[in-house]
């Protein structure tokens, strides 16, 4: 069965919307937003910390999260909070660069940890992480954009080009033994104009590792379109779930009724 995965983007301890990886607007209290998403019987939930600076002042006393906003700590708090609220598989990531961080997130209730830039900057760490925690615990997040006549992989929140072709890069992370690849189109991020069907199709047909498509979801039919790709593992989105009441349930009902192999939607009490 194919999955629909809400992504909660966190910056400086706040839930944000993102557009082309550049503009971020605050959606508010992660507590409330996570409770809502988790109550919707999602197939899996992803929390990504996309904070740009390592040290940020906390202006929001109302968040009641009491994190110290040094690197990583807020993600751990949110992971702990989320894992208490849900029994859905929980995958978390953002600036993962050492084994201690992974251990801390797993012990806070994460089921899988998502690694992005380190696959390019620190191969040894990634190999060690897969050896230590098992490939089934690690997801590779790969951000890409059309740049100089080719789809190239970008790291560090899309600010740095690796000059590596997307398919080549995805094969590299797959060969290291990750459980899945989260492929995110920077060009389509936050625009709501549909998933990158052509590129995702190509990735799915070239790779043996499962692919989760991300970037561009704007309406339910976008999910129907991308999930029709044979062999795709799932589709993820962030912004779309913030604007509509019961958006996850309605989307899943739509997908189910259109005959796609998804879990039967249920309304929770």
């Amino acid at each position: 069965m194919k999955r629909v995965i809400p992504i909660v983007l966190i910056a400086q301890g706040r839930v944000v919307l993102s557009r082309n990886f550049a503009r971020h607007s605050i959606q508010g209290d992660p507590n409330q937003i996570l409770s809502r998403l988790l109550a919707w019987d999602s197939d899996e939930v992803i929390i990504l910390d996309i904070s740009r600076n390592d040290r940020v002042k906390n202006f929001r006393d109302d968040l009641k999260l009491k994190p110290d906003f040094n690197t990583g700590s807020s993600l751990t708090d949110l992971t702990r909070l989320s894992s208490k609220l849900t029994m859905t598989p929980l995958s978390v990531g953002g600036k993962i660069s050492n084994l201690t961080q992974i251990e801390e997130l797993l012990s806070s209730g994460a089921d899988r940890v998502i690694i992005n830039s380190s696959f390019s900057t620190n191969r040894k760490f990634c190999v060690d992480a897969i050896k230590e925690f098992g490939g089934s615990t690690i997801i590779a997040s790969v951000d890409y954009k059309f740049y100089k006549d080719d789809f190239k992989v970008f790291i560090r929140n899309g600010t740095e080009c690796t000059n590596t072709n997307l398919v080549t890069y995805c094969k590299y992370v797959s060969d290291l033994g990750v459980s899945e690849v989260l492929a995110n189109s920077i060009d389509r991020d936050g625009l709501g104009k549909g998933f990158d069907i052509e590129v995702i199709n190509k990735l799915v047909s070239h790779l043996q590792t499962p692919i989760i498509a991300c970037g561009g979801a704007g309406k339910d039919s976008d999910f129907i379109e991308v999930l029709q790709i044979e062999g795709i593992s799932g589709a993820a989105a962030a912004n779309i779930f913030h604007f509509k009441e019961n958006s996850m349930y309605l989307l899943k009902r739509n997908l189910f009724e259109s005959g796609l192999p998804v879990r039967k939607p249920r309304i929770r009490d």
Partner: protein
């Protein structure tokens, strides 16, 4: 019921937090065990072999710690044991994970091999899958059809008609999803990642066996 349930989670590498947390949700205490001399083992009413790591290193660690001998004893004295994912695979005769033949504990006859990809089926097999029931078991009581559970596995036991197979799931071929012999159980899926269905399954294992 006044009985104190206590689960020994056998550690051979990897993440054991998800399973302890799931047990916590159904009000069951557990401890991670790395040595057969750990005194907490005396209080264990149930044993879980968690689903993390790779077969060769897991088996090696069990041999080095002596826990493999303990497990053989526990199986023959009918202590309820649940192997999850890799934990289930270790209960079979052998596995070819990592390009070498690793001998397992041999409770279930059969061999663990790498899953084959197809245009539709990727490896690892990740996500929610449905089960088809085979030989009867009480372990799925109160789990609603179509028995949705979360899988992450690159290896598995190709299904053959055997009395111990209680359910299968479809990959490029049918693979064993759950096996059961007396009080030794194995599941290829992860009950600790399977929401309410997973908790119901774990409750059946703990409170029903």
């Amino acid at each position: 019921m006044s009985k104190d349930y206590f689960v020994a989670i056998i550690k051979y590498g990897g993440n054991t937090h998800s399973i302890s947390q799931a047990l916590g949700r159904i009000g069951v205490k557990s401890a991670v065990i790395q040595s057969p001399h750990d005194t907490k083992l005396n209080f264990a009413t149930h044993i879980i072999l968690p689903g993390v790591g790779a077969a060769p290193s897991a088996m090696r660690q069990l041999q080095v710690s002596g826990l493999n001998q303990f497990l053989v004893g526990a199986i023959s004295s009918n202590i309820p044991i649940l192997g999850i994912c890799l934990g289930m695979q270790l209960l079979f005769e052998s596995s070819s994970e990592g390009g070498v033949q690793t001998r397992g504990l041999g409770v279930f006859s059969g061999h663990i091999s790498k899953l084959k990809t197809s245009s539709v089926h990727k490896v690892p097999n990740v996500g929610w899958r449905t089960l088809s029931m085979k030989n009867s078991t009480k372990m799925f009581d109160h789990v609603p059809e179509p028995y949705e559970f979360f899988f992450i596995n690159a290896f598995g036991s190709v299904f053959e008609e055997q009395h111990f197979v209680t359910s299968v799931t479809q990959h490029s071929v049918s693979i064993c999803a759950s096996v059961e012999l007396k009080r030794t159980l194995g599941v290829q899926f992860h009950p600790e990642l399977s929401g309410e269905n997973g908790l119901q399954f774990l409750s059946n294992f703990i409170f029903g066996s």
